[in-house]
Symmetry: C2
Subunit: 349 residues, 2 copies
């Protein structure tokens, strides 16, 4: 069967109505509130066809129709009008502009971004911090904290900072630390993590004078700092409790599952790293129902977007909501925030 223009309009009307009400929508409703002038009986025939095509479904006989996952998929792929949402975007942009001006640290910014997103959309939001293992080392600072304890501060492009405290056997003199600092910075600055290869490491150790052991430990510490960050990728979430707004998700067992994912954050990694690197339409990815890689979210839709701060500094923003979420609004919001992150980063450069 073919999906003609009229069927599309009807499907669209069903999705939009269901988006607002959360109730199955009947033929009479469509007949009354859509611009095509048709009687309910005609609509019924068309709906019957749409059902046969697997785009909508009845929860039970004598109920209205609701969209299926396939229905949503069609809608998202071919029917999204990314028309003027300017008003909303402006507002969101201003809110977050305002917030960004008042913060310095990446962490704070991302936290706030997540909050703004959740507040703005009434869905749950998540943001992964940019992964910086592809990034340039900007600065290493070694200093003594206690007798035999050193503090290594590692700063990379984008001003992400990592601290590690570690112990050394030998008791270093103040000037040793200074020269080690110099050595490390002259040799390592500007390099990506991958570029710090065995050759460089050997060279470093040669030049380190008697302090081979210390250099080794420092490099370990640097590696550790990066690895540990890679392991438990920083993820900031907000608005998980928004899911209670949607009756179809708020019965306690479903809600529990979803919120648990947000609380533990581990599983979110799957969502947030899935698309890293791949280039879709502006990096925006929509998972509907069972399409999501996280089983607990099978009753939700997830929209993610990859932001790129340059130099391979990538992270992901995501929104989780009911399948009947306002996809246009969500996509628009994500784009705004992506732009925001861009601007922010350019300011810092």
């Amino acid at each position: 069967m073919e999906l003609d223009e009229r069927k599309k309009k009807i499907l669209n009307a069903i999705i939009r109505n269901y988006q607002e009400t959360g109730e199955p929508v009947g033929s009479r409703t469509i007949s009354k509130y859509s611009d095509l002038q048709l009687s309910s009986a005609t609509i019924r025939n068309e709906m019957s066809d749409l059902e046969e095509m697997g785009l909508i479904v009845q929860p039970h006989t004598s109920a209205g129709r609701i969209p299926t996952d396939r229905g949503y998929r069609l809608y998202v792929d071919h029917m999204l009008e990314t028309t003027d949402r300017e008003a909303g975007r402006q507002e969101l942009a201003q809110t977050s502009d305002f917030l960004i001006d008042r913060m310095d640290r990446m962490e704070q910014v991302l936290k706030q971004m997540a909050k703004v997103l959740a507040l703005n959309t009434n869905y749950a939001s998540m943001i992964s911090a940019p992964r910086y293992n592809r990034n340039k080392l900007k600065f290493i600072q070694l200093s003594r904290v206690e007798e035999r304890k050193l503090l290594a501060v590692v700063v990379v492009e984008g001003n992400l900072i990592k601290n590690t405290i570690f112990e050394v056997e030998e008791q270093l003199k103040e000037e040793d630390i200074l020269s080690l600092n110099l050595l490390l910075n002259t040799n390592l600055n500007g390099l990506t993590i991958e570029e710090i290869n065995l050759g460089i490491i050997t060279k470093l150790k040669e030049q380190a004078g008697g302090h081979v052991e210390v250099v080794g430990k420092v490099l370990d510490a640097v590696a550790e700092a990066i690895r540990s960050d890679d392991e438990d990728l920083q993820i900031y979430t907000s608005g998980a409790t928004n899911i209670f707004r949607y009756p179809e998700l708020s019965d306690s067992s479903k809600a529990r599952e979803i919120i648990q994912v947000f609380e533990e954050k581990k599983q979110l990694t799957n969502l947030l790293t899935d698309q890293l690197g791949a280039e879709g339409q502006q990096g925006i990815q929509v998972y509907i129902g069972n399409e999501t890689p996280v089983q607990s979210m099978k009753d939700c839709s997830v929209v993610t977007a990859t932001y790129d701060l340059g130099d391979g500094l990538q992270g992901t923003i995501g929104i989780v909501g009911p399948k009947r979420m306002d996809y246009e609004k969500v996509v628009s919001a994500l784009q705004t925030v992506m732009g925001q992150l861009d601007t922010m980063f350019k300011k810092e450069e």
Copy 2:
């Protein structure tokens, strides 16, 4: 009316039974399952008395009784047998011992501690990181990150680290930074935040040569670093979704309220800083129902404990659960974790 031994026993039996089942408990149940050999009729008379005394209440006529807040209060204050829970404590101790061995950073430890606590008790847990504003500055490190951007690393007793990046007007030479570092460290190290008064600040600025502005900014940065930590006190939570285990809390509006508090964390500050400094019985504090300072938790009980790592480095551990929580188990678990934190800290010293 007087609360004789028998009434106490009956109240105890009611509380324990209700703890397990979550259902109002009737006279027949007590008569059957408690060690006092009495008929249900006698129990009924006693229960009638207990109700008159405001310790138990009927949700409706012809239902069993459930404890009131006052009933719980009495139980917690006078009837808690902190008897041998050794089995459970051992287990908890081992679990967390194991976990602690594998971590270095305070943050990780506290996160894990929260997780272990939640897993062990099946309630929600929270831990505030030790506040260090009463603490000694151990070390300040100033270094250049970009042309006009400096990185200040502040380390305090207990090896808590704070980073701040800030801009300066003048372009500092390398040796200026070095001497500033020296200046800052010789003058500030070993002082508590409170001890850095105007006198010291003036003295610092005098000695700073031409770099008064920089010193000012550094001090601002230091203050900011501490203030900002104070503002959004680090709080680690776990097991918020455990509240879904308890039917009396898991209807969606209540659950939402409670989980929201855990998500936003701001309000948890009230719970976690309430008792700081005050010395109760080993610093353990029990809030039952309306007693809690957080309105959204009026249907819960909250148990908090203050841990002290020495040098005024204090933080708080807390458990949130239904009013019928197993207070003994919770108190015991909190004590174990407090001990654990102690040990861990001593290791680090």
